[in-house]
Structure formats: structure tokens, C-alpha cells
């Protein structure tokens, strides 16, 4: 176990290092390099030279690369071009918003996806099964930002069921403890703030959950069908076990293994989907940060840090999922 973990950790470091190197050299291979990217095309030669020297771009590329690596390792990503604040501050402020959104989405996706997939498999070929398949196919074919606008249009415009954007109502004096607004409300006993934040969370989370939900349904269904076909299920049936016992002990436990892996991989879809969803609902998390760093002149220090963060989160979550696999499946531990 320890060997597997350490090997995976090394793999993680190597992957991130390679990614950083690629990003570093890509930025420097742009026409004009990062200085032009920062100043735009109309800068005078003097300002350009000044900034070049100030940022150390006049030094040899290997010196620059070494300094870049050192900065990254020590967590110094420089300052945002747009706001002038340290990149780490900008990112840590936006981080909880996205985590809250992604968690809500994955809870919806698992909570709905596993039972639906299971039911579809048990009623294979019947109406429920076919309806589920069609809905999941549409789910993976719909541009999710469009779905976001649809939901917003239906549920916030004519009938004011949900708030159209933001994380919490303006004017609500909530205390910021952790940055997770739902949790903060519970911690400070401001239950109205918690409820309000939860209310704001519903539509964005539903939008973001679409693709993971569709995929979890499909995998669960396929996996349950596979397991139902196994000899041990027939044996369990033949020896007279009651069907609820078979379902719980034999079918579900075995069928959920592939689903766990998929959940880890869906982190990727969630990270990418968050960029789109957050723009639709003006959410103010990492996704919004990416969009803002791109549209208002490219904010390279922030972008660079966000790319590394996204890759790190994706790889780490998958590592955790793989390890949890060992907990769920005793067969893995034995070997």
C-alpha cells in the first residue's frame, strides 16, 4: 500500500513538473514573449525594456526557468496583472465557491445517478430503461451553458423560484468564516444565510451535475447488468437467498466498484464545467476567475497558477479515489 501511494505521489510530481515546464516555455515562445502580452502592442520601447528588466526576462532562459520552478515550489506565483494582488490570495478567495458548487453537483449526480442507473438496469428494455437512456444521451449532447440559460429562464424569470445569479442575496449580512457559505451559516448559527446560500446553489449545481449525472447513470446501468449476468448471482438465487439480500450484498456491492472510479474521473468534467456554469450564474469562483483572466487582457500569472491547480486537483482526487478502491474492494488489499 505504502509503495503504491509513494509511486503515485512521484508520478504526480513528475506530471505537474512536466506541465509547468510546458506552460513556461509556451508562454516564452509567444511572439513578443510575456512582456508584449502584458503591455499590448502599443507600448513604447522604453517601457518594454524597463518591464523586461524588472521581470528578469533579460536573463538567460535557464536562469529564468530555475527561478520560476523555485517560485512555484515555494508557492509564490507572483501578482495578478489585473488587480495587482498576490495570485495565491486571488485564488484562495475564489476556491471555496467552486468547491461548494462542485460538491453540490457531485452529490446530486451520485444521489440521483446511482439509483436511476440501478432501476434502469433492473427494468431493462422497458419504458423506464429506455427513457433513462434517452435522457442521458441528451444530457451528454447538450451544451451545458445553454442548459444553464434554459433553467435560469424557466425558473428565475417568469416564476421566481430560484435566484438568477450569485452565491447569496445582497444585503444579507453573513459572516465569512470558511468561505463555504452554506457551512458558514451553520457554524455561526445564521441559518437564514445558510438557507439562502443553499437556495442560490440549486440551479448552478443542477447545471454542473448534468454530464456527471448522465455518465454515472450509464456506468451504473452497464455495471449492474454485467453483475446480474454473473454466476454468483445465479448461485445466490439458486440457494434460495431472498432477493433484497441478493440485491444489497451481491449486486450493488459489486456493481458500484466501476462507479467509484468514474466519480474520480468526473472531477475533470466538473472543473471544466465549472468554468461554463460559473459564467452563466456569475458565481465568482475559480471558473469566473479563469474567464476574467482571459477576457480582460490575458492575466498570465493567474492563468498559469490555475492550470497547475486544476491538474493537481484532478490528479490528487483520482489518487484518493484509487486508494478508496482498496478500502471498498477487499480483493485489492489481499494482493
Amino acid at each position: 500500500m505504502v509503495r503504491i501511494i509513494s509511486r503515485r505521489l512521484i508520478q504526480l510530481v513528475v506530471t505537474l513538473l512536466a506541465l509547468m515546464t510546458l506552460v513556461f516555455f509556451w508562454l516564452r515562445s509567444l511572439p513578443g514573449g510575456p512582456v508584449d502580452a502584458l503591455l499590448g502592442e502599443r507600448a513604447t520601447p522604453q517601457t518594454r525594456e524597463l518591464l523586461t528588466r524588472a521581470l528578469g526576462y533579460d536573463q538567460p532562459i535557464w536562469v529564468q526557468y530555475g527561478r520560476f520552478l523555485k517560485n512555484v515550489v515555494t508557492g509564490n506565483f507572483g501578482n495578478s496583472i489585473r488587480t495587482g494582488e498576490p495570485v495565491t490570495d486571488v485564488i484562495s478567495r475564489a476556491f471555496p465557491a467552486t468547491v461548494e458548487l462542485a460538491l453540490a453537483a457531485i452529490i446530486i449526480a451520485i444521489g440521483l445517478g446511482v439509483p436511476l442507473g440501478y432501476l434502469a438496469a433492473r427494468h431493462r428494455g422497458r419504458l423506464l430503461d429506455n427513457a433513462t437512456i434517452i435522457v442521458t444521451l441528451i444530457g451528454i449532447s447538450i451544451p451545458i451553458f445553454f442548459l444553464g440559460y434554459l433553467l435560469k429562464d424557466w425558473l428565475t424569470q417568469g416564476v421566481h423560484v430560484f435566484p438568477p445569479s450569485g452565491r447569496i442575496s445582497t444585503g444579507l449580512d453573513n459572516t465569512d468564516v470558511t468561505g463555504f457559505f452554506v457551512l458558514d451559516g451553520l457554524l455561526t448559527r445564521e441559518l437564514d444565510a445558510s438557507a439562502d446560500a443553499l437556495w442560490h446553489l440549486v440551479l448552478p449545481a443542477l447545471t454542473l451535475a448534468t454530464i456527471p449525472l448522465a455518465i454515472i447513470i450509464r456506468i451504473t446501468r452497464a455495471s449492474v447488468l454485467d453483475v446480474l449476468d454473473e454466476d454468483y448471482i445465479r448461485t445466490a438465487d439458486a440457494k434460495g437467498l431472498r432477493s433484497p439480500t441478493i440485491r444489497k450484498r451481491h449486486v450493488l456491492r459489486n456493481a458500484l466498484l466501476p462507479v467509484v472510479t468514474i466519480i474520480g474521473l468526473q472531477t475533470g468534467a466538473l472543473l471544466a464545467g465549472a468554468v461554463l456554469t460559473e459564467k452563466v450564474y456569475n458565481w465568482g469562483g475559480l471558473g469566473t476567475l479563469i474567464t476574467d483572466s482571459i477576457s480582460g487582457g490575458r492575466d498570465y500569472p493567474v492563468l498559469q497558477a490555475l492550470i497547475l491547480l486544476a491538474a493537481a486537483v484532478f490528479v490528487v482526487v483520482n489518487l484518493v479515489v484509487d486508494l478508496s478502491y482498496a478500502v471498498i474492494d477487499p480483493r485489492v488489499r489481499v494482493r
Binding site: W26, F146, T261, I307, F314
Partner: protein, 319 residues
């Protein structure tokens, strides 16, 4: 590849799907398998629906100038007259879907949109496929350090979620054009195709027909080009069909994020949905509904066909 311990590594699922595809298509005696699969495909209503959708899409794209009532970039005075930020004219005589925000015939733009969408989807898929096949074939044919290098590179690319990788690529380019979008969407698919082809080549290396060719003294280049590559093509085609759907969805997402094609004359569904469709959603939601519906239907068509071919090739379904 999944180790015997059953612990899956990163992106292992993606790899496993690729492996399954290889296992299904690299089986010797491929001709009868393919004929068999073809027969199963024709009996499968899902495959037929997918094929019909794709065919219709192709016909509209090819014959757009004949089908469309107007030029997609022409601005009509009678449409621009009633055009304000808060009201965009709907259907009028001669303009069945009304106007777009610049007074152009929306129906014509939708029809020509099939063409541009096909262009973006096909090119993004093809470039990704060619680069992926090239790298995969190199890795599979040479093995050793070439293989190791290519595989580590694909690992790095798979460490970023695909849309994020595309966003990164476009964002890092100094300004976006139609080509940055196409290339970004294409590059995302390179590691998938590379892994697919490499696995398929490795599976064939020890197979009887390759051994026989080698025993006959056929040159390595010819073995790779004549014997190994053609046998890997089925898997590549299945993947390409599925990739097309993802490519047009990714292109739409890039447009929505302001990273799309800046050409205001271009009629492409993703662009129409991601820029004007969203901007004028409260004024005239039809500007979003039509391109969105078109994208959903076409993506669905390619997914249905791709999945059906994959299923038909599954030896488990052989009867």
C-alpha cells in the same frame, strides 16, 4: 494499463475503454467480424437513427447554397429597420426564422451553419486523429524510448480535463482565430488517438499475420503501413465518430467563453449559440434555441452511431 492488483491508475478508465476497443477490433479474422458487425448494425434502430441524422446534416451542409433562401452575410434593410437592442424581428415574409442581431436572415445562417459546423468538427477530429495516429504508430512500431516518451507526454495531456486544456491552449495563443479553436479542440484528442493506436499496434505485434509477414522478410515499414495500420483503423473510426460530437460541443463552449472565432460573418452553430444566442437570450431566445437544438441533434447522431458501431464490434454480442 490496469495492474493485476486491480488498483486503477490515473485516467485508467479512459485507457480501459481504449483497450476494450482495441481488443474488439484487433481480433484476427477481422473481415468476418466486420461483416458480422455490419449486419448487426443494420438491424439496430439506434444506429439507423444516428446514420440518418448524420446523412441529413451532410446533405444540408453540402447543398447549403441551394437550400438557403438568402446569403448568410447579407444584411436586409427591412430587417434592420425594426432592429433594436431590445427587439429582434421574428418571422416575416421571406424570412421564416426572422433576423439575427445584425439584420441577417437567420434561417440562411442556420443552414450555412451546418457547413461551418461540419468544417470545424471534421477538421478538429481529423487533425487530432492524424497527429494521434502518427504518434501512436511511432510508439507502437518502435517501442522502447520512443514509446515511453510518447506515453509520458499523453499522460501529461490527460492530466488536464479536456475542455480546460483547450481553454488553456486558446488562452495562451496571443489572439484567437477560427484556426486556434480548431487546433485547440484537435490537440485535446491527440493523446486519446495515440493511446488507441499504440495499443492496437502492440496487440498485433505478436499476432500471426505480422509474424508471417516478418518471416517472409517483408520490410518493417511495409509491415507497419500495409499490415498493422489497416487493422487498427476500425477502432480509430469508432473513436473519430464519438470525437466529432465532443469537438462541436467544445467549440461551442470556447465561443461562449469569448475564445471563439472573432469573425462576425462566420455562421457556425457553436458561435451563434455561444455569442449572440446567449447575449440576446432574454430578447429573443430563438437565437439560442435553434443552434442549440441543431448541435444537440447532430452530436446525438454521431454519439448514437459511434456507440452502435462500438457495440456491434463487441464480441460478446456475436451470435
Amino acid at each position: 494499463m490496469s495492474r493485476p492488483g486491480g488498483i486503477s491508475t490515473l485516467a485508467d478508465h479512459k485507457r480501459r475503454r481504449i483497450d476494450e476497443l482495441i481488443a474488439r477490433t484487433a481480433e484476427p479474422g477481422g473481415v468476418s467480424l466486420i461483416r458480422d458487425a455490419g449486419r448487426r448494425l443494420l438491424r439496430n434502430p439506434t444506429a439507423i437513427v444516428g446514420a440518418v441524422i448524420i446523412l441529413l446534416f451532410l446533405i444540408i451542409a453540402i447543398f447549403a447554397p441551394l437550400v438557403a433562401p438568402h446569403d448568410p452575410v447579407q444584411r436586409f434593410p427591412e430587417l434592420t429597420r425594426d432592429l433594436t437592442v431590445d427587439s429582434i424581428p421574428g418571422a416575416t415574409a421571406g424570412h421564416p426564422l426572422g433576423s439575427d442581431p445584425l439584420g441577417r436572415d437567420f434561417a440562411s445562417r442556420m443552414i450555412y451553419g451546418a457547413r461551418q459546423t461540419l468544417f470545424v468538427g471534421v477538421l478538429a477530429t481529423l487533425i487530432g486523429l492524424l497527429l494521434g495516429v502518427l504518434f501512436g504508430a511511432l510508439a507502437g512500431a518502435f517501442g522502447g524510448w520512443v514509446d515511453a516518451l510518447v506515453m509520458r507526454l499523453t499522460d501529461v495531456m490527460l492530466a488536464l480535463p479536456s475542455l480546460l486544456l483547450a481553454i488553456t491552449l486558446v488562452a495562451l495563443a496571443s489572439r484567437s482565430t477560427q484556426w486556434t479553436v480548431i487546433i485547440a479542440v484537435a490537440v485535446v484528442n491527440v493523446p486519446i488517438f495515440a493511446r488507441l493506436l499504440r495499443g492496437s499496434m502492440l496487440a498485433q505485434r505478436e499476432s500471426d499475420h505480422v509474424l508471417a509477414a516478418r518471416a517472409l522478410g517483408v520490410k518493417r515499414r511495409d509491415i507497419v503501413l500495409r499490415h498493422m495500420l489497416p487493422n487498427s483503423l476500425t477502432a480509430v473510426i469508432v473513436q473519430a465518430t464519438l470525437t466529432f460530437a465532443v469537438a462541436i460541443l467544445d467549440a461551442a463552449a470556447l465561443s461562449f467563453l469569448g475564445l471563439g472565432d472573432p469573425d462576425i460573418n462566420r455562421a457556425e452553430w457553436g458561435l451563434m449559440l455561444g455569442v449572440d444566442g446567449v447575449r440576446y437570450f432574454e430578447v429573443r431566445p430563438e437565437l439560442a434555441y435553434y443552434p442549440a437544438l441543431a448541435i444537440i441533434v447532430v452530436a446525438l447522431g454521431f454519439t448514437l452511431l459511434g456507440e452502435s458501431i462500438r457495440e456491434a464490434l463487441d464480441p460478446k454480442n456475436r451470435r
